[in-house]
């Protein structure tokens, strides 16, 4: 991040992205009975991914405010 710039994470339109732990990931995969590849994807070149230093293969939890549900959780696998 260049000096003087504001982190995009602080922008109101950017939902909260968090890298989840292996345990959390396993719980998630178990809950939906899916393999990792069946998660939605996000590119490693995505500005948010770069900003939170997530690496290839990480899974990020996205917490966004939703018109219908208040807050909605989503998970994305970081890919190339």
């Amino acid at each position: 991040m260049k000096k003087g710039n504001v982190s995009i994470l602080e922008h109101e339109s950017v939902p909260i992205h968090e890298i989840i732990t292996t345990e959390e990931l396993n719980a998630l995969l178990n809950k939906y009975k899916i393999r990792r590849e069946q998660l939605p994807k996000i590119k490693s070149t995505d500005p948010v991914i770069k900003e939170i230093n997530a690496e290839l293969g990480d899974v990020v939890e996205i917490r966004r405010s939703s018109r219908t549900a208040g807050t909605a959780l989503s998970y994305r696998l970081v890919i190339k």
Binding site: K31, I34, E37, Q38, L39, P40, T68, A69
Partner: protein, 1042 residues
């Protein structure tokens, strides 16, 4: 099962080798069938190419008709011919390549650049068409090959720049010859300006030696720079660079008017400099070239001398449809025969094919010139036997016959040593036949015709156009067991039914297996013969299908036994799918139960119009008969009308009362009316009620007898479930709460507060909000609490009640219902319109006197317009209010608007009181003539009249000016709807295409076909609108267990 994914499609050309390889037989004879009626061997209906006659076996694969897919054969062409589909591409390729070496005519740099571009496009999975187009354009410009002559080296030591072009040229040529090069090589020298050269000298920013180096290479063509440094003194700018052999210094004088270049060996060159737009242009640059350096520099592109000593290109001329000519230096034309063309295309190296948009692995350009012709399998061109027993061949076969004939003749003539003229004629003929075999609709070529004079349908014709393979056979699906006709209303049938004309019911069939239980019934059905309800076909146990005819129905009826199948007519109670286009949501196709009726139209209960968006002004609908038990079960459970009363779109009933149903129920439930038994029974006629409620009380009749009576509200209560409790505010609600007043609930003067206690309507009037489609709160509640059947029954009963009620009084709306008394008219004119116009004039005066104050964020003009619009708008509303007062609630128009049956109060206002301001893009009409809308207004007249205010009502009639303004505003509305429908239609289509494979799984996730999650919870909250309760959001499935 794992789904397989298509990774890509690859298109290529068939190589002659491939054609021969896939061929099952070489076809030599032009004949088809012999005298014995059997296919001739080596002929076009060769038995090795597949079978089309029942009973025969394929000689290639041994399959019978239906099993054998057919096999390709081939014809060896006596001489190559052009493939008509590629003539343009061939022309472009000939123009873009060297006639001698076949390479694409591009400088090495350009070639690399274009290859890179193409690689990039390919990587992006984007088309290379644009790049290739550019390459063809670039390459066609060149007139000499830069590849052919490259290998020579010439000692050009004393070629000085004083020599003229030809002299250099001749000199080089001479030296080339000395070195043993062929004389045919032409040396071509190009200088942009005879002895003057121009090159650009860019100022080098910073101390970037890399940059400097590239400049030197680009601008000077000096390739051997190793190190370069830039030094800057006060006095001048100096660039020094060292190279392999030389140290060169380039100096820009302090005044920046001169540049000097100094070589190590003392040679110096000086240039006057002209500065333009950040660049220093060096003119009259003189360069004395020595030794090897010279020829090298000559060849550099950046320098003005370019030496090509390759093959000169000759202009190619393409004569439609299939001839190419080459124009030589003397301007003489020479025809390129297909053999020549093929040879040239063969010379194009594989490495250059990418530049031409081809992939050497799947296509070579010379394959565009045919030497072998594949013969499609007979299954692709079946011959048909006419009733006379004569065989009639397919058009493709006819064409192939022609081709083989000419091909044979060509060979015979050539072998016999016929004169060149005859050979060429035959060649031309062969070309014609093969061209028309591919496409019989080529510009400038007379189409090949059948004996009858009908043009033949050849390859391209099979694929092209509306009825072609793509649009007609692949995209255009046709379906059996369907019917289409006009719809008309029938309020007496159930909402889940559809009235089917007998004519249609006799055509559409359902196949029934004969079993013990239905044997007798079906036997009777078949026994009816052609009469309804009968059967059209019977399928015997051995699978043989027999048509039921006037002569055989009795025997068939008797013979009918277990294991047979009967294709019986559609009868009452069969389930069918009913559909109206455009099928925009799932409710556009619903399952109905058949009711066979006389007449020629489909009958539809008006209550089911909203989901189909249908009306009866000539709409047609489609009907599909389900053919399997599974389909019928699925339709019954998922698609039945009653199941879809609640729309998945907004979670409210989409089926319910419309138009007169609402008026009727409104009239019935309004106020408190006492009805005697006769009237009650009249109203309840046809309504599913078993026991009449106890009367509400007794009244004394004129003969002093005690007569029991029922109230109108009681009658409505009789069709409500007995334990229904509900309260809401109806359509007629005046929104007192929003206006800051208190709601008087049961005492509401408008009867807007609907209260239902234990299935009794206590207060309120039933209107659109209670039983209408799209709103229907009572229907909504009944659906969720008592289920599909109860709500279907409720809708049915409401409709019947409403019809009976409205029929008792009758209901009509005529032109006289738009009349208001004179005093009302006066009021509208004086109180509403005149007042507003005065206000407008006052505003304009204030504006002109510059006394008007601008509204925040608006210009003065905008403020004026806004205020005028406001006062004119309220003028219309006021006029409407006055009109409403004078019309009274009993006016049928007001009744319909208030109950929500049809129309709005605005519609009524416009008809009876005042049409109001017309607008274009939300503004008053201001365009037309200069500074005025119509010529009889003064310029800049901003008054109400001059800007499209229509003070008349539709009933009164519009003045010519008003009529004009109304047309202006009306046109905008018309255009808007036209644009909106097409745009939203396309948008919807795109959405459907993008989302069609997504599925909500049982765990509430939305997944696509590979089971990849798209949404972890459907709609983020997991709510299915059609399952949620009113004003609540309960989960589709809150937990994620199992």
């Amino acid at each position: 099962m794992r789904t397989k994914r298509i990774q890509g499609l690859k298109f290529g050309l068939l190589s002659p080798k491939e054609i021969r390889k896939m061929s099952a037989a070489k076809v030599i004879t032009a004949d088809t069938y012999g005298e014995d009626g059997f296919p001739i061997e080596l002929g076009l209906v060769n038995q090795r190419l597949g079978v089309i006659d029942p009973g025969l076996r394929c000689k290639t694969c041994g399959g019978r008709m239906g099993e054998c897919p057919g096999h390709f054969g081939h014809i060896e062409l006596a001489a190559p011919v052009m493939h008509i589909g590629y003539v343009k591409l061939i022309y472009k390729m000939l123009s873009a390549t060297c006639r001698k070496c076949g390479k694409v005519l591009l400088e090495e740099e350009d070639r690399q650049h274009f290859l890179y571009e193409i690689g990039q496009q390919r990587e992006r999975q984007a088309g290379v068409g644009e790049v290739v187009k550019l390459i063809f354009k670039e390459a066609a410009k060149k007139d000499v090959c830069m590849h052919c002559g490259e290998s020579f080296s010439v000692n050009a030591e004393d070629l000085s720049e004083s020599l003229k072009n030809e002299e250099i040229s001749n000199e080089l040529k001479k030296r080339l010859e000395e070195q043993g090069y062929s004389l045919t090589k032409t040396v071509h020298i190009k200088r942009s300006l005879d002895d003057k050269c121009i090159f650009n000298w860019r100022e080098v920013p910073g101390n970037d030696s890399e940059l400097l180096r590239s400049y030197l290479i680009d601008d000077f063509g000096i390739a051997w720079v190793k190190n370069a440094e830039i030094s800057k003194t006060q006095k001048d700018k100096r660039l020094t660079f060292s190279a392999d052999k030389h140290v060169v210094e380039i100096t820009l004088s302090a005044k920046r008017d001169k540049i000097s270049i100094e070589f190590e060996d003392g040679r110096t060159y000086e240039q006057p400099v002209k500065k333009t737009a950040g660049k220093l242009n060096v003119h009259n640059y003189k360069w004395t070239i020595t030794d090897e350096e010279k020829i090298y520099i000559l060849r550099r592109k950046g320098l003005e001398l370019t030496v090509y000593c390759g093959e000169r290109k000759r202009q190619i001329k393409y004569d439609k449809p299939t001839t190419y000519k080459e124009i030589d230096e003397d301007g003489k034309e020479r025809r390129l025969m297909p053999t020549d063309v093929r040879e040239r295309l063969e010379r194009i190296p594989d490495e250059d094919l990418a530049l031409l948009g081809m992939d050497a692995k799947s296509a070579r350009p010379e394959w565009m010139v045919l030497t072998v012709l594949p013969v499609p399998p007979v299954t692709a061109r079946p011959s048909i036997t006419l009733e006379s027993g004569q065989r009639s061949e397919d058009d493709i076969t006819h064409k192939l016959v022609d081709i083989i004939r000419i091909n044979q003749r060509f060979m015979e003539n050539r072998d016999a040593g016929a004169p060149q003229l005859i050979i060429e004629d035959l060649w031309e003929l062969l070309q014609y036949h093969i061209s028309t075999y591919f496409d019989n609709d080529i510009a400038g070529v007379p189409p090949a015709r059948h004996r009858s004079g009908r043009p033949l349908k050849t390859m391209a014709q099979r694929l092209k156009g509306k009825e072609g393979r793509f649009r007609g056979s692949l995209s255009g699906k046709r379906v059996n067991f369907s019917a289409r006709t006009v719809i008309s209303p029938d309020p007496d049938i159930d909402i889940g039914e559809v009235g089917v004309p007998e004519e249609i019911a006799k055509e559409l069939t359902i196949t029934v297996n004969v079993i013990e239980r239905n044997l007798k019934l079906l036997s009777e059905t078949v026994g009816h013969g052609g009469k309804y309800p009968g059967a059209n076909y019977v399928r015997r146990a051995d699978g043989k299908k027999v048509k039921v005819t006037d002569t055989n129905y009795e025997t068939l009826s008797e013979e009918l036994s277990l294991g047979w199948k009967v294709e019986r007519h559609l009868v009452d109670g069969d389930i069918v799918l009913f559909n109206r286009q455009p099928s925009l949501h799932r409710l556009s196709i619903m399952a109905h139960y058949v009711r066979v009726m006389p007449g020629k139209t489909f009958r539809l209960n008006p209550s089911v119009c909203p989901p189909y968006n249908a009306d009866y002004d000539g709409d047609e609908m489609n009907l599909h008969v389900l053919q399997t038990e599974e389909a019928r079960a699925e339709a019954k459970i998922l698609m039945a009308v009653q199941r879809n009363i609640i729309s998945p779109r907004f979670g409210r009933p989409i089926i319910g009362g419309i138009h007169d149903y609402i008026t009727g129920i409104f009239l019935l439930t309004r106020g408190v009316k006492k009805l005697e038994k006769e009237a009650v029974l009249d109203i309840l006629d046809n309504v599913d009620i078993d026991v009449l409620d106890e009367p509400a009380g007794t009244s004394i009749s004129s003969t002093y007898e005690k007569v029991p009576y029922w109230t109108n509200k009681q009658i409505f209560s009789m069709i409500l479930p007995k334990d229904l409790n509900l309260n809401f505010r109806g359509k007629v609600c005046e929104k007192c709460i929003e206006k800051g007043l208190t709601c008087e609930k049961e005492q509401c003067p408008h009867e807007a507060y609907v209260l239902i206690k234990n299935g009794k309507l206590i207060s309120g009037v039933i209107d659109e909000a209670a039983v209408g489609s799209f709103k229907g709160l009572i229907i909504d509640r009944i659906f969720r609490h008592y289920g599909e059947v109860a709500s279907k029954e409720f809708i049915k009963n409401t409709s019947r009640l409403a019809i009976n009620a409205i029929l008792r009084t009758g209901f009509s709306f005529g032109i006289s219902d738009e009349d208001i008394p004179t005093e009302g008219k006066d009021q509208i004119r004086e109180d509403a319109v005149h007042e507003a116009e005065k206000k407008v004039d006052a505003l304009i005066m204030a504006y002109e006197a510059e006394e008007l104050e601008a509204l925040p964020g608006r210009t003065l003009e905008e403020s004026l317009e806004l205020l005028i619009m406001q006062s004119l708008g309220s003028a219309r509303d006021e006029a409407g209010d006055i009109a409403e007062r004078h019309l009274g609630i009993e006016n049928p128009g007001v009744l319909m608007a208030k109950s929500g049956a049809r129309g709005s109060l605005l519609n009524l206002t416009q008809m009876t009181a005042c049409v109001g301001q017309q607008s274009v893009r939300g503004e008053r009409i201001s365009r037309g003539y200069q500074k005025r809308t119509l010529p009889h207004f003064k310029p800049d007249d901003r008054s109400a009249d001059a800007r499209g205010f229509v003070r008349a009502s539709f009933k009164d009639g519009l003045s010519p000016a008003e009529y004009f303004f109304h047309a202006v505003g009306g046109r905008e509305a018309l255009v808007d709807t036209a644009v909106r429908t097409s745009q939203s239609g396309y948008f919807q289509r795109r959405l459907i295409n993008a989302l069609q494979d997504l599925e909500v799984k049982y765990d509430g996730t939305v997944r696509e076909t590979r089971d990849t999650v798209v949404q972890f919870k459907y709609g983020e909250d997991g709510v299915d609108p059609s399952k949620k309760r009113r004003r609540e959001s309960c989960g589709y499935r809150q937990d994620n267990k199992g």
